[in-house]
Each structure stands twice: as C-alpha cells, then as structure tokens.
C-alpha cells in the first residue's frame, strides 16, 4: 500500500506541532491547535472544499494531551483518515473515539515523564553545574532536556503514522514505569548534588572570603540551611509558596542582624 502523505507533509505537521498549545482554551483545550496541526494532511487527502471542511470541523473538537505527545495522536489520526478515505469508511466515529481514548494516556505519560521527571532532573544538573562551573550549565541543561523532548515529538509522529490504531499498545503508563523510576532515581541523586553545590556556593560567599569562624562569614550558610528547613516544613504543611519565601527572607535578615550584633 503506497502512502499518500509525503515526507514534506510530515515535516509540515511536525513544525505545526511545536505550536499545538498556542490556542489552549477552556472549551476545546488543544482542539484548535490540533485542527491547525492537521491542516497539511487534510489538504493532501481531500480535494473538495466540502470534504476538507467536514474533516477540519471534526478535528477542531475537544482534544487534550501533553503537548509533546500530541504528535503521536496526530500521526495516528493522519494514518486513519488516509485509510478511511482509501477504504471508503461510512462513518468517521472510530477516529473520533480513538482520539478521545488517547487523551488520558497521552496526558498522564507526558506529564510524569517530562514535567515531573526530565525537567526537574535536568534543572537540578543545570543548577549544580551553574553553581560550580558557571555558564556551561545553560547549554547542557538545554541539551539534556531537548534531546528526549524532540525525539519524542519526531518519533511519535512517525510511529503514529506507521501504526495507526496499533499505537495504543505502546502507550500505557505501566510500560513507562521503568522510565519513571529511573528518572526519580536520577532526580534523587541530582537533588543531593545540587544541595552540596548550593551549600558550597553559600560557604564561598561568606566564610570562603573571610576568617572561617567569623560570625559574618557563617551567615550565608546559616541562612541557606534555615531557609531550607523552613521550606521543607512549609511544603509538608502545604503553606503557599509566597508566604514561605517571605518567611525565609525574614529569617535571613534576622540571622544577619544577629551576626552583626555579635
């Protein structure tokens, strides 16, 4: 079976996918964005304006997913629309139901993998490096994050287009559990590394510049530790972040004034 979509169409869909969340709204969520990304395959598959409009309207309906994983659904839907046209399906409802069914898994996997996993872990590495080695942290942070990010987008679009309905088998939270665990482990390690780097930086700002046991020299590290403990407790009791920051700032000033009085 020869594919109707060209490579150019897939690339066109890919760059549109980068903007998929641009029109997020309370009614259709990613619906308008999905319609925008679907335009290349709709133009390729349907020649009459009436058919194009009918297809476009369906894809403007409600849709939601993690933005990076929207490309998986987009590729699969392009494949299904192509099959529906070739095999002259009477009804397009299977495609709409398929899209609805993907909303849950695509959101859950993407959020856990990227927002709760790769992003904080990459940021932890970036911060630890930033506090010890300087600017090199920035390109490294972007690379650590964007290699998996762009891979997921490109691979998802191609896999979706290759597999159609069958893409569902690879999209279960259970199948990704290994990745989630690995990222949590990497994050725990990074957290420790980051804590040591921040403590070192605070030490260098104070005691590293003057006599190690001078009260003023210990202030940065003391403020850092006090703020850390306070925030840990505040997070445990779900106190709003801005109040916590204000509390930490006050503690910092009090410690500094106390050291000056000594």
């Amino acid at each position: 079976m020869k594919s109707r979509l060209r490579s150019w169409d897939l690339w066109n869909m890919f760059w549109r996918c980068l903007l998929v969340q641009g029109s997020w709204n309370h009614k259709s969520m990613l619906g308008l964005g999905f319609g925008f990304t679907a335009i290349p395959f709709i133009r390729r598959l349907f020649k009459s304006e009436k058919q194009r409009e009918e297809c476009l309207r369906r894809h403007l309906d409600f849709f939601n997913s993690h933005p990076y994983y929207a490309s998986w659904c987009l590729g699969a839907v392009a494949k299904l629309e192509e099959e529906a046209k070739r095999k002259k399906w009477d009804d397009s409802r299977p495609i709409d139901i398929f899209k609805e069914r993907l909303v849950g898994p695509l959101g859950a996997i993407g959020d856990r993998l990227f927002w709760n996993g790769i992003k904080p872990a990459a940021a932890g590495v970036g911060i630890a490096l930033g506090l010890t080695a300087g600017w090199i942290a920035i390109p490294l942070f972007l690379l650590i994050y964007n290699i998996p990010h762009l891979t997921v987008r490109i691979f998802g679009l191609r896999e979706g287009y290759r597999k159609g309905f069958d893409i569902v088998s690879g999209l279960s939270v259970r199948r990704y559990q290994g990745w989630f665990d690995a990222l949590t482990m990497a994050g725990a390690f990074t957290g420790g590394l980051c804590l040591a780097a921040a403590a070192r930086w605070c030490w260098l700002q104070g005691a590293g510049r003057m006599a190690p046991l001078h009260p003023d020299g210990l202030v940065p590290l003391a403020v850092f530790v006090a703020a850390l403990l306070l925030t840990w407790a505040a997070l445990h009791f779900r106190i709003p972040r801005h109040r916590t920051i204000l509390g930490a700032a006050l503690i910092g000033i009090i410690i500094s004034l106390a050291a000056a009085a000594l």
């Binding site: 409009e53 920035i138 994050y145 725990a188 403020v223 850092f224 920051i245």
Partner: protein, 235 residues
C-alpha cells in the same frame, strides 16, 4: 535605559510564548532566560544568579492543562532585567538583586491571572471560529496565530510595565535605605537558594532511595573539598 527596557520586553514576549504556547524548548526557564537578559544588557553574572534562584523556586510549578500557575519564567526575566538596571543606576548591586527578586516574585503572581485572562480570550476566538457558517484552513490558521500573537503581546506588555514601574519605585526608594543594610538584604539571595533547594528535594526525595540522595550529596561534597576556586557566575 529605554533601549534596554525595550530589548528585555521583546525577550519577555518570547519567554511568554515558550512557557506554554509555542515550542516549550525551555529557553523560557529562568536559568536560560535570565542569563540571556544578562547577555543582552552586558552584565551576565547578576542575571545568571537570579536565574539559578528562580529556577529552583519555581521548579515544581507545572503548566498542566487549565492549572493556575505562577508565571515564574516572566517574573524571573523581569527580576534579572531590573537587577541589572538598578545596579547600574544606584551602584549598589547587593541591594538591587534582592529588591529585583522581590519584584519578580510579585510579577509572577500577577502573570498567573494574565494567563487565565488570555485563555478566556482564546475561548472566545475558538467559539467565534466554530460558529462560522464556513470554516477554511486559512480561518483556522488565522485564529490560531491570533492566539499566539496575543500571548506574545501580553509577555511584552507585562515585562515592559513591570520593569518601568518597579524601576522608578526602587530608584526613589534606594537612597532612603542606609548603605549599612545592603549586607543584611544580600542574605535574601541565600534564603531564596535555600527555598529552592528544599523544593528540589521535596520533588525527588524518597525514604527508600535515601542512598541515592546521599551519593549525590557525597559527590558534591567531594567536589567542594577538591575545588578551591570560587563559584562560577558569582556576584
């Protein structure tokens, strides 16, 4: 000064886009966006330090679905720009950085409500589109790009307004603060860093995996012991 404000405001527009609307390649994260502000204004170090602080503080803010989240990315960008402009103006960087960070925190709170307002506006645009008797791919493209343009414009306007407003407030406030207080206010930087590290630990620390955390901490302490040089990007 006005040229710098315009440049940072335009960058604020791109930060607003990258946060949720377009690409999300994380150039909007404070670590990157504040450093870019530092480079644009010719003073890398304060931007970088503010970026590190805000990156940690807002690490657990998730731009998921319709969630109301603090616009930490824009807040940090504004804080970085403000810190550099105020340091230049007053010659008191130890005071300018914490004051700018406070302004950034306030703006991030305001930014959350602007995002909600924009999403409501997007809903109106979407409703108007689907109520049209005839929908073409051109109309869909225009509606989508309209939403993106609104987000960019909101980022530019918020950055410009906050920068100008806080700059003039702090410029008149700084001479009233005795120079002896600079050292005490500088401690806010360490406090913010402590807050941020606690956030990172809270995300990842699990009792059954304490050994991984200890391994990271141990490696970090070894690096501390064997490196005598000062921290990169320090103020």
């Amino acid at each position: 000064m006005w040229q710098d404000v315009v440049v940072v405001s335009l960058w604020g527009g791109f930060v607003a886009l990258d946060t949720t609307a377009a690409m999300q390649i994380l150039i909007s994260r404070p670590l990157v966006s504040c450093s870019v502000v530092g480079l644009l204004l010719g003073s890398f170090a304060p931007g970088f330090i503010i970026g590190l602080m805000f990156e940690l503080i807002y690490l657990d803010e998730l731009p998921v679905g319709g969630a109301l989240f603090n616009e930490g990315n824009l807040g940090a960008t504004i804080a970085a720009g403000l810190a550099i402009l105020l340091s230049r103006e007053s010659g008191r960087p130890d005071l300018a950085v914490p004051l700018a960070a406070l302004a950034g925190l306030l703006t991030s709170k305001a930014g959350a409500h602007i995002v909600v307002a924009l999403r409501t506006r997007n809903t109106e645009i979407y409703t108007r589109l689907i109520e049209r008797p005839r929908i073409t791919s051109g109309a869909v493209t225009r509606a989508h790009l309209h939403c993106l343009l609104l987000m960019f414009a909101a980022g530019v306007v918020l950055t410009f307004t906050a920068l100008v407003l806080f700059f003039f407030i702090f410029r008149s406030l700084i001479p009233l603060i005795p120079a002896g207080w600079d050292a005490h206010l500088r401690t806010l930087i360490y406090a913010f860093l402590g807050v941020g590290c606690a956030v990172l630990l809270y995300i990842f620390y699990e009792r059954k995996r304490w050994w991984l955390f200890a391994a990271g901490l141990g490696l970090g302490l070894l690096v501390w012991l064997f490196t005598a040089a000062g921290a990169g990007g320090g103020l």
